[in-house]
């Protein structure tokens, strides 16, 4: 069962001329997936193309190794979950994708991350342009101390949208997409901090999708919410994946099993296993993965 990882490594050890050819990427993913599924199920995977390609990513906080030699492809318009115990690096990995780690002092990164074929660590890349394409929802809901309307309109305004009608349209659409419109449409101009925890988190999702990103990163979005709010957000993710590529970090393995199409299991900064969710949970390839998902871990 070590085949998947080996294949993955093999595939990324191909000459690094991957970025130019989309077809090559598709092929690689196909290989990768075959490595994982090995003909167990007849998945329709022809339309899969990688949105994010991570190659040999290594990250250090000062001397401490946080991520070690991570390589994986995240497919477009699917939900990909990162699971693993606390401190395994899954949030760090997620934050590499929109370069939020840049803010931390003493971080060194090696390896490449391509999003839609563009190397995001390219020094010539305008980082704000990158972040506009990648929305993020945080573990702790963090609405701005502004009105609900201003929270959602924040991103579009940053991008230079000034017209009132355009902003109103964006706000309504985003709130509807985030399944929050019915609850807040009559109090758009009240403080966002008056909302409940679940509503605040959905507001953060609305704020993130208001700028129409291609990718939505979610860092344990439900960890501070009750089961009802969690269920709402999970429902929402199922809807949103039609338009967005979603990457979610979660502690909750049931949640990963419920919402994601692909799951990556990280342990101590290393990628242990990456596969179709249904595959990984039903029949994990690695002993470590099996131990973790069955709770026999540690």
């Amino acid at each position: 069962m070590a085949a998947q990882a080996e294949m993955a490594i093999e595939s990324q050890e191909k000459p690094a001329s991957v970025r130019d050819s989309k077809g090559d990427g598709v092929g690689r993913v196909a290989i990768l997936r075959d490595g994982g599924t090995q003909g167990r199920t007849g998945e329709a995977r022809t339309s899969m193309e990688p949105m994010i390609e991570i190659r040999k990513l290594t990250l250090r906080y000062g001397e401490k190794l946080a991520l070690q030699d991570i390589s994986l492809d995240i497919p477009k318009h699917q939900v990909t979950a990162f699971i693993g115990p606390s401190g395994c690096g899954k949030s760090t990995l997620l934050r590499c994708l929109n370069r939020l780690n840049d803010l931390v002092d003493g971080v060194t990164i090696s390896g490449t991350i391509r999003i839609g074929g563009i190397d995001i660590n390219d020094p010539n890349l305008e980082i704000t342009e990158l972040r506009k394409r990648i929305g993020m929802v945080f573990q702790k809901s963090n609405p701005f101390p502004k009105t609900i309307y201003d929270n959602v309109a924040y991103g579009p305004r940053i991008q230079g949208v000034r017209s009132r009608s355009a902003l109103e349209e964006v706000v309504e659409r985003s709130l509807r997409d985030a399944a929050l419109w019915d609850e807040v449409h009559d109090r758009l101009h009240q403080s966002a901090l008056g909302l409940s925890g679940g509503q605040q988190q959905r507001l953060c999702i609305a704020r993130a999708i208001a700028v129409e990103p291609e990718i939505l990163l979610m860092d344990e979005p439900c960890s501070a919410l009750d089961p009802i709010a969690t269920a709402k957000i999970e429902e929402l993710m199922a809807d949103l994946k039609k338009q967005y590529t979603i990457v979610i970090v979660t502690h909750n393995m049931q949640q990963a099993a419920r919402v994601s199409d692909y799951t990556a299991f990280l342990y101590l900064g290393q990628l242990v296993e990456y596969d179709l969710t249904r595959q990984l949970f039903v029949k994990p390839a690695k002993k470590q993965t099996e131990d973790y998902i069955t709770g026999r871990f540690g």
């Binding site: 993020m136 924040y154 940053i158």
Partner: protein, 539 residues
């Protein structure tokens, strides 16, 4: 015992006790100021005292105290003495006298006793014996005299106000214009153009102003001749005083006033105090220039200290790389708050007044040298000095506010594609606004109560003009100004007439408290409004 201590009860008592003590001390201070300050304007009755030796006194009782009798055997009854404000300084010298209770033979409250508040020489107590117009007798005796006084006094007061207005407004304007011309001429002389047509034109202009000044002088003399009414007052002790009506600020008979009349009188006195100009080397009249100066100085200081402190705090917390250097700077800033204020004053004199102000004078006002324009104490320099004094408060409060903003908020903004500046401007600044205002409130409270550095950077006992007036450029930041805190010091400790001035100390202190309260309340209301809007803050 140990269990009792462990239960936490004594700690609750200790904390509660500490709070109670603080509240009692503050409340006591406020009560003292209120009691002494508010009673000052109430018209107390005029008593006529006949002493055992036959002398007569008339005036208002101001206080009563026990006479200390060291070494006296127990059982001897306590003896008291009273302090009487007898006024009539020009007749008998002393404003106040102490009288032993034991020496008083008779007390009376004569209805005809009149109190004259004069524009000079303080109060005059006595009874009216006659009212005259020039040499002609108009009325005689206390009753008719009072009636005549009521008839003629309003006209005399109106004339007096007219004289004041001419002196202040019209002659003031002429003086202002003449001064400007003189400076322009001096400038021409400095440029070596004495004989130029410009100079002769100015000379002509000056002549016209001089002529106008002569007209006004004539008008003033005319007005002064108009008010020829005098009142003859016989004071206790037999002396008589002839008083021109134009000298009377207020005349009233407290012994005949009912509660309603007294209340009305009280309110008019309070209004005079708040809105009027000081008289009698600040021991009488109002403190309006001091209120104005205090408020204006605090405003200018706020305008300077807020941006300065906020920007510095933003750099320290948002941009600077946290390390030893930044920590050192932070400690230094905090310590700055502990430097004695007079040191800031000395710095203000040396740096702002002599260096900055002196340079401004040399470059922009060379024609008025050696008279300094900016190179001397003024409201601008005093405000800047206080801004320097209070900037640590604003920095610390803003920094605390910045530190309390969750990092997630900044990350959320950055993740939406905002730049660091956009994040700071649109998310961090609004969120930290309540903390900035808290810092500003503390700074204003400190600045309004500060006196020492002001004494050497521009506060004066009596400022001839307010820093804002109707002459270009309307705002005169180089002018000296009056300040309530300094007014308290001056009236209380530098006054030639300490007994008369003491109540003014309390009333002025009360007013200063009120001014600080109003300034703070305004800021607190704005802060609460912001807080409701953003519903997020640490303080």
């Amino acid at each position: 015992m140990k269990r009792f201590w462990k239960s936490g009860d004594p700690f609750i008592w200790l904390t509660g006790g500490a709070l109670a003590l603080s509240v009692i001390m503050v409340a006591g201070l406020v009560m003292l100021v209120l009691w002494n300050g508010l009673g000052f304007f109430w018209p107390s009755p005029i008593v006529r005292l006949t002493l055992t030796d036959g002398t007569e006194l008339m005036g208002q009782v101001t206080q009563r105290e026990k006479i200390p009798q060291p070494g006296a055997p127990p059982g001897i009854p306590d003896r008291y003495r009273i302090q009487v404000k007898v006024g009539n300084r020009d007749l008998y010298g002393a404003d106040f006298v102490w009288v032993d209770d034991a020496k008083i033979a008779r007390r009376g409250l004569p209805a005809e006793a009149v109190l004259f508040e004069r524009s000079e020489w303080g109060n005059l107590y006595g009874t009216i014996s006659a009212v005259r117009e020039g040499d002609r007798q108009v009325a005689e005796g206390p009753v008719d005299g009072w009636k005549a006084l009521q008839t003629y006094l309003p006209a005399a007061t109106a004339t007096l106000n007219e004289i004041r207005r001419i002196e202040k407004k019209e002659i003031g304007a002429i003086n202002h214009a003449q001064e400007k011309i003189r400076l322009r001429m001096k400038k021409l002389t400095l440029q070596g153009q004495e004989g130029s047509p410009e100079a002769s034109r100015l000379q002509q202009e000056l002549e016209t102003w001089k002529a106008q000044f002569g007209e006004k002088e004539a008008r003033l003399a005319d007005l002064r001749r108009q008010s020829q009414y005098t009142v003859v007052v016989s004071a206790a002790g037999g002396k008589e005083k002839e008083l021109r009506l134009a000298q009377i600020v207020r005349a009233y008979r407290p012994n005949t006033m009912g509660p309603l009349a007294k209340t009305g009188f009280y309110l008019s006195k309070v209004w005079e105090f708040v809105a009027g100009e000081p008289r009698e080397s600040n021991t009488e009249g109002g403190v309006f220039p001091a209120i104005f100066g205090t408020v204006m100085m605090v405003m200018i200081m706020s305008l300077v200290v807020t941006p300065l402190g906020v920007l510095a705090a933003f750099y320290l917390r948002e941009y600077a790389k946290q390390g030893t250097f930044v920590s050192t700077v932070r400690i230094a800033v905090n310590n700055l708050a502990g430097v004695p204020s007079i040191v800031f004053g000395v710095f203000g004199v040396g740096f702002f007044i002599y260096l900055v102000g002196g340079s401004i004078d040399r470059f922009f006002y060379p024609e008025s040298l050696p008279t300094p324009t900016y190179g001397t104490g003024g409201i601008l320099w005093a405000s800047l000095t206080l801004a320097l004094l209070t900037v640590p408060v604003v920095i610390v409060a803003t920094e605390e506010g910045l530190a309390a903003i969750p990092g997630g908020m900044r990350e959320a903004s950055l993740a939406l594609g905002a730049t660091k500046f956009e994040t700071t401007w649109r998310v961090v600044l609004p969120a930290v606004m309540p903390s900035i205002l808290t810092g500003l409130i503390l700074a204003m409270a400190r600045a309004a109560g500060e006196v020492a550095p002001l004494m050497i950077t521009g506060v004066v006992k009596l400022a001839p003009a307010l820093p804002i007036d109707s002459y270009m450029p309307f705002l005169h930041l180089e002018r000296k100004f009056m300040h309530l805190g300094f007014h308290i010091y001056d009236v209380g400790f530098q006054s030639p007439n300490v007994d008369a001035a003491r109540p003014m100390v309390y009333t002025t202190a009360l007013l200063l408290l009120l001014v600080v309260l109003v300034l703070n309340l305004t800021a607190v209301l704005i802060r609460n409004k912001l807080r409701r809007k953003y519903a997020y803050s640490v303080f």
